[in-house]
Amino acid sequence: MTMRRLVFYGALLALSLAAPFLFPAFKTQLATLWLMIIVALSWDMTGGQMGYNSLGNIFFYGTGMYVAAVITIAIAHDVGEYTAASGGGIYTWTWGQYFAGLVIGTLGAGFFCAVCAAVIGWITFGLRGPYFAIGTLGVAIAAGELVSNWDWVGGGQGITMPNYPGDFERFKLLIYYLFAALGITLFVFVSWLYSTRFGAAINAIRDDEEKAEAMGIHTLRYKMVTWAMAAVFVGAAGAVSAFQLIHFEPLETAYQTINLGIFMVVCVLLGGKGTLWGPVIGAVMFHAFKEVTWSYFLGWQWIALGALIVVVVVYFQDGLMGYLRQRRPDWFGMRVDAGETP
């Protein structure tokens, strides 16, 4: 790594760590920004790098929330009794139980979602192009409906998580750092992954899957593993969201196909599909746009957001990074080598 890059990444890391102290009033918005970065980066693993546009990644977010909730409740209480009483306020958690729930719940959510991704992927990866998108969307919608009819996890009423057993501002700080840690881990992970042969193989699947098969690449295995890796991070992010929101319900929060489920795709399109930084930049741009419209154009915010989506999809499909790559290919190392041939 060159000195310049080291300084750049160091400064970015320092800014990430200091952000909640620099802008103490915006801890929750900053945490949500990290959430957007996580879901965008993990969406791009299949959508941008592998060419499989999933509209069902929100399934892992919702499932992660529920897995974390069930684990956390089960640590201290009986889940069926707890949900039947709708929380009720008579249930308490010790510090130890709360943090055990936080750690085991988040890891368990990631693991469970990875298994789900492998299983669902094994079925849906036979679908290509728009059929894959619709198929995965169907999985997410069906899951939301199933969970909202499942009383053991609270049905349509949703489920209530324990309150943080301490100061609320410190709780917000904890959530911010959990999301930040997850996001930074994911960024480091994908930047390593894309530099390996694995990354090249999924790019090959994106560019021409039939050719990849003809060259002997284990295409189905690569697709399942990639989606499972993305699902780990989305599921874990869902788990942290569950603790952050305290109460959530299945259709509008957990399996929110039309909100976060679409936002993650728009973030990636805005920043540039199939690039390392595109999803991150896109998530920042999208989140800023969303916060501004929600604050200053209340009542028109959905129209503004819809207009943004239409403009991006129609005129700006390659996103910011794609635009730059087309205009300045030499910045991305694409050039004719005029040097001596060996």
Binding site: D208, K211, P342
Partner: protein
């Protein structure tokens, strides 16, 4: 050492009412160059597709290196070392040439742990050497999708060599290539055969090319095996001449 590396016996394949291949039997000698000719629509590409497992065959048997492969899937057959290039060239358009080469490393020799490693310096050097071999070294950092059709064909050939196949099926390697480059391509195909020991099985319409290169030539017409033999025999076979002139 010689012997048949690919043995096709009694293979038939129909698409709806069209019998693309009817009771085809043939063999490809290990270490040799075998040609496959025939008028358009005679079933050459269908036979290729059947051999590499692109579609199931209706009847018959296909063996590669003494192993029945007719029920296997495309990637499995490719990992055995039987590779094909496409008539409509296929490369990974958004990746540069070096990346195209590196992703073509033989996956049959790759463990799961190897897949999570970076490419070694030797891999890169080999990729660059092969790109130099097909004359694409200076364009190695360009997106493969931005190359001309002929260059993409050369790249696809280099990718196949990178995969270190035992046998390589080439579907019209010279189609769309500038006539002045064809001689160079013939030389390279010959070198790949002689130096890397890769058995070649080539579909070709350019008679000058195939007659010069192949040891044995098979000729298909209307989905049937019409004739086979050495290039001189085929050239003087009245049935082959008639098939090409439409008298068949």
């Amino acid at each position: 050492m010689t012997g048949a590396i690919i043995e096709v016996s009694g293979v038939s394949k129909s698409f709806g009412g069209v019998r693309a291949n009817a009771d085809i039997s043939m063999s490809v000698e290990k270490g040799g160059i075998t040609g496959l000719i025939g008028p358009n629509g005679s079933g050459k590409t269908t036979l290729f597709n059947s051999i590499v497992g692109y579609h199931p065959i209706d009847s018959g048997s296909i063996r590669f290196a003494n192993r029945e492969i007719s029920g296997m899937a495309v990637p499995e057959i490719a990992r055995l070392g039987l590779l094909r290039t496409f008539q409509q060239t296929r490369i990974y358009g958004a990746m540069n040439c070096v990346e195209n080469m590196l992703v073509s490393l033989p996956h049959r020799k790759m463990s799961i742990r190897d897949a999570f490693r970076r490419n070694s310096t030797e891999d890169r050097e080999r990729a660059e050497t092969l790109l130099e071999f097909v004359g694409l070294y200076r364009k190695r950092l360009l997106r493969a999708g931005s190359l001309s059709f002929g260059q993409q064909k050369l790249l696809e050939f280099a990718m196949a060599l990178m995969n270190e196949p035992e046998a390589l099926l080439l579907d019209e390697p010279t189609a769309g290539i500038n006539p002045t480059l064809i001689n160079g391509l013939i030389d390279r195909l010959r070198l790949a055969n002689a130096e890397f020991g890769i058995t070649l099985f080539i579909i070709e319409h350019n008679m000058r090319v195939i007659m010069n290169m192949a040891d044995t030539i098979y000729c298909l017409a209307h989905g049937r095996m019409l004739a086979s033999g050495a290039p001189e025999e085929i050239q003087h076979d009245q049935r082959v001449v008639n098939a090409y002139l439409g008298a068949h």
